[in-house]
Symmetry: C2
Subunit: 296 residues, 2 copies
């Protein structure tokens, strides 16, 4: 009873049921990433993997990422329509969809603080199941549902940038301790495709960096300026809208990379992760913090 | 930053974003329940909160619980239909739904072992986000999405009953240590509504007991006989289909009960839970194990 099982509609490798060794490895990775946040004073909250469409709409989700969206509805209970046909419910069988499945974890943090005030150096951590309607799936590398741990900074712009810089150093050091080579690539963030001012800002200064193993992004640091602060009316003591940033870890993708790097020996991978997580040199905060918005 | 935030379509209290204290309490409860399973030799696995309709259909989900079901689809990307209207996507906006959101955690355990062979005394534990389309919501007591920890026994019928008896004792002792009075009520299990032989068996001998605080069920023990073993072709060494049973803990409901019992003082609740979890008298396996199928 060790292997991960894949399942999916029409035989696609869209969903992974993780076996005991994979589960232990993902939990240990999550414990380490969470620990970095807690050490910086983060408070842990937990959000459900379902939100009202009205909440997700605040973040332009259906304008910027309609192709990725999964939405949830209940079944029309008349006329036997609630019985699936060939493993599917057609449009007439599903009543209106008033809920959406999130494709990122950090939404829960902004909704938690909606309408409130935060300190200039607020830090929150949370993990959630995320969902993406992809055009193809490839097991742990690209799933319809996966776990994403995030550390979310809310407060002054400087605070949001310092957090990203610290985590950039930690991610790179942790990868080094594991013997894994990670590229750091500037990436476009479609959040701002619909917002001309921010889209221009994104061209001038990248707002998203991905940490890639080959072509697979396994973590990212993201600058949102005051987009979420405005959309959720989160204010600083000064009265200004809060700035936010987040650090995201795709846990199943880390599992995919470690499985590959350790030739499928998940026991060896777990030992290495535990050692790397304890390593005071590699996981220390670098002396000279560079802002994440500057390419290294 | 302490309170739990509720959100939902049309203002319903359908979803809870748990604040730091509530998150810590839920994690501690889950650690204790998981620990009971691990102490009995359970292996932990993890399943996604989304399954193909074809997988959930194996368990008669859409025949027995169509009213509870949430199903997920992607958006029709033509003609601007992907834009929600009044916070909702109408039937034409959602393409066919090939995935379903589980309303219980244990499905992942059967799908993990599908087509395989298990030892006569197998034990698995997992937690998942579950989803229920309820006719009304009432915050932590009745949510559209909540966390359910399960300990799932697979093997001989005797093994499945011994596990339920042990957990029955533990749940009752743990509640006593917390100063909480829990009723133990026989309940009908709609799993077997569609299966005349099993429905008859259910009338003769209850297959589900709920542990209730007032009228709120916060844990249950469930006997499935060989229903899931047959539906997922899980076999014992003898060649017989595996018997299964499960113990389920509704984590947000425990949080609701403890919030009420400790008058909203979640710090006191956490201290009490930690003490009760350590208590060797109350959490020990009772000497005389009674099978869960006999009312106390």
């Amino acid at each position: 009873m060790t292997a991960t099982r894949l399942t999916g509609s029409d035989g696609e490798p869209a969903l992974a049921i993780l076996g005991p060794q994979a589960t232990a490895l993902v939990k240990e990775l999550d414990r380490i990433f969470t620990g970095w946040g807690l050490a910086d004073g983060a408070e842990e909250i937990s959000a459900p993997p379902l939100f009202p469409v009205t909440d997700l709409e605040k973040f332009d989700v259906y304008t910027n990422f309609p192709h990725l969206a999964w939405v949830a509805g209940s079944l029309e209970l008349t006329d036997d329509r609630f019985k699936p046909v060939a493993g599917k419910f057609g449009p007439g069988a599903v009543t209106e969809a008033r809920y959406g499945l999130p494709h990122a974890t950090c939404y829960g943090a902004y909704l938690f603080h909606e309408g409130g005030q935060v300190a200039d150096d607020s830090l929150v951590t949370l993990v959630n199941r995320c969902f993406r309607n992809e055009d193809h799936y490839s097991g742990l590398r690209r799933l319809a549902s996966f776990q994403m741990r995030e550390i979310v900074a809310l407060g002054s712009f400087d605070h949001t940038q310092e957090v990203l810089a610290r985590f950039t150093g930690r991610i790179q050091s942790f990868a080094t301790a594991l013997g894994i080579e990670l590229g750091r690539e500037a990436a476009g963030d479609p959040f701002f495709q619909n917002d001309s001012g921010r889209a221009l800002m994104q061209k001038l200064s990248p707002v998203k960096y991905e940490f890639q193993y080959g072509d697979l992004a396994i973590a990212s640091v993201n600058t949102h300026r005051n987009f979420f602060g405005e959309r959720c009316s989160i204010r600083l003591e000064s009265g200004e809208h809060a700035y936010t940033s987040c650090v995201a870890f795709g846990l199943e993708r880390w599992l995919a990379v470690l499985t590959e790097h350790f030739d499928g020996d998940l026991g060896a991978a777990l030992d290495a992760v535990r050692s790397a997580g304890l390593d005071p040199v590699h996981t220390a905060v670098p002396d000279a913090v560079r802002t994440a918005a500057e390419p290294s």
